[in-house]
C-alpha cells in the first residue's frame, strides 16, 4: 500500500514526458508484464514488473532521490 501511495503521489503529463525522453535525470519505468513491455513501450523506459518491484528497483535505481516516472497500460 505504501508503494502504491508513493507511486500515485504526483502526476506527470504526456507533454513533459515527450519533452524529457532524452533527459537522463528522469528514469521512465514500465511496470507491465514482460510480454506487454516487449510488444511496445515508451522509448528508453526500463522494465520493472510490478511483481517483485521493490527488490528489482533497488538493483536498477540505487539513488533514492532519482526522479522517476512510472506508467502502465493506462489511462488511470
Amino acid at each position: 500500500m505504501k508503494a502504491n501511495h508513493e507511486l500515485c503521489e504526483r502526476g506527470i503529463f504526456y507533454e513533459e514526458l515527450v519533452a524529457r525522453l532524452e533527459d537522463r535525470a528522469l528514469v521512465i519505468v514500465n511496470v507491465m508484464p514482460k510480454e506487454i513491455f516487449a510488444a511496445g513501450h515508451i522509448p528508453g523506459s526500463i522494465h520493472l514488473p510490478i511483481t517483485g518491484i521493490e527488490a528489482k528497483a533497488r538493483q536498477r535505481i540505487s539513488n533514492l532521490d532519482q526522479e522517476i516516472a512510472v506508467y502502465c497500460a493506462g489511462p488511470h
Partner: protein, 307 residues
C-alpha cells in the same frame, strides 16, 4: 520503497500510442512470447473453428442457420429430382414439384431443430446430408442460444455496475456534505474561542481523513473510472468539493501556530492538496463541458492555496 521523486504517468501506453508518439519494442522477448502463444494456439487449433463460430454476432449466426436450412431443403428436393432417391412422406414419395419443395424445406427445418417428427423421412444416401444438417443445426442453434443468454447476462452485469456506481456517488455526496457540516462546526468553535480546543482539533482531523478518502474517489472517478457520471451529478460533486476546500482553507489559515499543531492534520492536508491539484479542466483524460472545466480549474486553484 523510499524513493522520494516518483511521478505517475496516468495516461499510460494507451495515451502514448493514441497521441502518435514513437514506441520501442524488444524483439527477443516478443519472439519468445510469440512462440509460446503459437504453441498454445496449436493445441487449441482443433477447436478453433468452434470458437470462430461462437465469436460471430447473433444476427449473423441466425442468418447462417436459416441459410443452411434453405440450402439443405433445396438439396433434399433436388436429390429427388435428379438422382432417383427422395424423401418419403408416409407411404408416398415426395415429388420434385412445388409441393415437394415445401415438404423438403419443412423436413430441413425439423432436422435442423433436431425435432424428428418422423412424418417425412430421408431414404438412401439422402440420410447422409440429413445427419450432417442435424449436427450443424445443433451446433449453430446452441451458439445462438448461448449468445442470447450471455447478452442478457451482460445487460445484468452492466446494470449491477451502474447501480453500484450510483450508490458510490451518492455516498460521496453525503460524506462531503457531512465533512462540510463538520468543518462549519469546527469553524464556529474556533470563532467562539479564538483557538482550536483539543476536541475540535480531533473532529477536524477526522473530517480531513474522510474528505481525503472521498477526494480520492472523485479523483479515481475522473481519471480511472470505466463508467462516466452524468454532468449534473459531476457538477454537484465538484460544487461540494469546492465548498469543502474553501472551508478547509479558511480554517487552516485561521489556525493558530502553536495551538493547532497536528501531524495527522498536516499530512491529510498535504494529501488533499496533492490529489486536488490534479483536478483541472485540461488535466483529466475526458473532455467535459466548459462549466465543469471551470469548476475543476477552481478546485486546482484552491488546492494550490492549501499547499
Amino acid at each position: 520503497m523510499g524513493y522520494t521523486r516518483v511521478r505517475h504517468y496516468h495516461g499510460g501506453m494507451e495515451e502514448w500510442s493514441d497521441r502518435g508518439a514513437s514506441i520501442e519494442t524488444s524483439m527477443i522477448v516478443a519472439e519468445r512470447a510469440a512462440v509460446r502463444t503459437a504453441t498454445r494456439q496449436s493445441s487449441a487449433a482443433r477447436f478453433s473453428w468452434l470458437e470462430t463460430l461462437a465469436g460471430w454476432r447473433l444476427e449473423r449466426l441466425i442468418g447462417i442457420w436459416l441459410g443452411m436450412i434453405a440450402v439443405f431443403g433445396v438439396i433434399y428436393w433436388l436429390a429427388g429430382l435428379s438422382l432417383g432417391w427422395s424423401l418419403r412422406a408416409g407411404s408416398d414419395w415426395v415429388k420434385p414439384d412445388l409441393e415437394g419443395l415445401e415438404t423438403a424445406l419443412y423436413f430441413s427445418f425439423v432436422t435442423a431443430l433436431s425435432i424428428g417428427y418422423g412424418d417425412v423421412i430421408p431414404t438412401g444416401a439422402l440420410r447422409v446430408p440429413a445427419v450432417i444438417e442435424g449436427i450443424a443445426g445443433l451446433l449453430i442453434f446452441g451458439c445462438v442460444i448461448s449468445k442470447l443468454v450471455s447478452r442478457r447476462q451482460e445487460e445484468l452485469t452492466e446494470e449491477i455496475h451502474r447501480t453500484t456506481f450510483d450508490d458510490r456517488l451518492d455516498r460521496v455526496r453525503t460524506n462531503l456534505h457531512l465533512v462540510f457540516s463538520d468543518l462549519g462546526a469546527v469553524q464556529q468553535l474556533q470563532a467562539e474561542r479564538g483557538a482550536l480546543p483539543g476536541q475540535a482539533l480531533r473532529r477536524l482531523e477526522s473530517a480531513v481523513r474522510v474528505f481525503r478518502g472521498e477526494l480520492q474517489t472523485i479523483h479515481d472517478l475522473l481519471y480511472a473510472s470505466r463508467l462516466e457520471p452524468d454532468e449534473e451529478t459531476l457538477e454537484s460533486l465538484l460544487a461540494n468539493l469546492t465548498i469543502c476546500l474553501q472551508s478547509l482553507i479558511e480554517l487552516n489559515s485561521a489556525r493558530p501556530g502553536s495551538d493547532g499543531v497536528s501531524v495527522p492534520l498536516d499530512t491529510g492536508l498535504h494529501s488533499i492538496s496533492a490529489l486536488a491539484v490534479e483536478i483541472c479542466g485540461e488535466c483529466v483524460p475526458r473532455q467535459h463541458a466548459q462549466a465543469l472545466k471551470d469548476s475543476m480549474d477552481q478546485i486546482q486553484e484552491l488546492a494550490r492555496r492549501i499547499a
